[in-house]
């Protein structure tokens, strides 16, 4: 599988990152098989978080067995110094490892959270102490909130080495600032910050819970995913051809093999085909009525 340098970390990540939230939905034996399966494809970057149910615990056994083959990203949703240290200790404990390669601020949403994590008693102070102690190697940040907030974070966090944010044809087809993750990607690439794409396989929101109760959803993703092999492959190719370091697999274990296959087969996507996906999604929810043309 193709690898690309993850910013300045010195690590070459595979073009697919395994989103280990998928393990949360499996029993331990199945989780073990899933990790072996993903490693068989050569995937070398795994992503986990304490908020993903039992994913840390279920990843633990195979992570310890294959520790050298896996570049491990973990996250904390805590914004304070104490909170971040506490979560980090808990994650190390649950994963059963000594060190996390990439520790990320999880799901930054608001301006005041950026103030909080960058304050003297904020989460990043804990990150840096842990870095000095050799408990974590690199610092990252994840967000599916406002692109301009992520750009602010780039400006304000000098030692940021990776970013995780959404990128797919639906987002790329929207011109407004609220969806301008391409600006984030461009800025990150200028600053040599690694980039991990999420929601690459999102087709849209789930219907209202009145119409489709959560328990009746056919996938455990936050969003309604594309699910046919050719669609998965197109979506992977699109995300991987935008200039991201790596594309994070979808959260439902039913989709993981298709994504591994797409990643293994990836060899670029020409621009006319990229635009084809953008225009296809743009028309799905366009406010402009009755369009015969593209």
């Amino acid at each position: 599988m193709e690898t690309r340098p993850l910013g300045t970390t010195g690590h070459d990540s595979t073009v697919m990152t395994f989103g280990t939230i998928a393990l949360n939905w499996l029993e331990q034996e199945g989780a073990n098989q899933m990790v072996e399966h993903v490693l068989d494809y050569g995937v070398n970057h795994f992503d986990v978080a304490p908020m993903y149910g039992d994913a840390e615990l279920k990843l633990g056994p195979k992570l310890r067995q294959h520790r050298e083959e896996i570049f491990l990203g973990c996250k904390t949703e805590k914004r304070s110094y104490e909170g971040a240290w506490q979560r980090l200790d808990e994650s190390l404990d649950r994963l059963g490892v000594e060190k996390i390669d990439l520790y990320q601020v999880h799901g930054l949403e608001y301006d005041d959270e950026l103030d909080e994590i960058t304050a003297d008693d904020g989460a990043l102070t804990a990150f840096r102490e842990a870095q000095e102690q050799g408990i974590i190697d690199h610092i990252g940040l994840t967000s599916h909130s406002r692109p301009d907030l992520i750009v602010d974070a780039i400006d304000r966090i000098d030692d940021l080495e990776s970013l995780m944010f959404p990128l797919n044809p639906v987002v790329a087809g929207k011109d407004d600032g609220e969806h301008d993750y391409e600006a984030v990607l461009q800025r990150a690439n200028e600053e040599d910050i690694g980039t991990l794409g999420i929601k690459a396989f999102a087709a849209g929101s789930w219907p209202d819970t009145e119409e489709l109760p959560e328990r009746d959803r056919p996938f455990c993703n936050w969003y309604r995913p594309v699910c046919a092999p050719d669609e998965i492959s197109e979506r992977f190719d699109f995300a991987a051809s935008q200039g991201l370091t790596s594309v994070v697999s979808a959260g439902d274990p039913k989709l993981v093999t298709m994504i591994c296959e797409a990643a293994a087969d990836y060899d670029g996507m020409d621009e006319a085909a990229q635009r084809s996906l953008i225009e296809g999604s743009r028309h799905d929810d366009s406010p402009v009525p009755e369009q015969l043309h593209h």
């Binding site: 087809g173 006319a272 084809s276 225009e279 296809g280 028309h283 402009v288 369009q291 015969l292 043309h293």
Partner: protein, 249 residues
Amino acid sequence: MDVPSTVTTALDDRPVDGRRCLEAGAGVGNTTAGLLDAGASRVYAVTNDREHALTTRERIAGGQDADTDSHPAARDRLAVLHADLRAIPLPEESVDLVTAHGLCNVLDPAALSRIADELQRVAAPGAHLVVDDYAPLPETAAVRDLFAVENAAAELATGRPALTFYPSSFLRDLFAGAGWAFERERTLLEPVPWTESHLSAHADAAASFAADCADDAGAALAARAERLATDIGSESVGRMYSLAFRLAA
């Protein structure tokens, strides 16, 4: 403004900023939006469809943009003209850039020929021309069946086809014959995503022609179009291309 990537790609190597532009066949104003966004000093959006004229005007007037140092607000740079492209209400040599985005496929050869001459008439020396359209679909494309029904209804109702997908070489030669020097061809979309909303718009267009058919063939064609649109759902097939030309200065 929400500008399709087909439009931005077709325009990105053409001079738009500060130029007087003509969008020939405004449709819902996609290219008008792209031209205004790229800094056109004036956009004449010409369409013979009243609904399209209104949609284009409302779309731009409803935009959030305001005057800037370099450009007045988009709505103040736009003139929507409800007119026939075979007789454009503009003087000779009055525009610097002409766009025909998805226009030629709705023109039969006779109309296309007259409009090609008319576009040349209003273009200033050194003007640019961008022609974006669809290559003929492969035999295996399911959407061909829907377009065939649309064309059958249009022929019965008006004596003309609704859609003709001209090869890029055909349009290149046609406009070259009208005095334009060919500059480049690029692929905008491949495959072309015919989405559910496109197919349902084409089924509606077929039904609208069918309503004007003289006998009961119309009802059958309308039903057939609707069934085809439903059965096909969506299909990604074919190629959309962009041709660029220039007049001698």
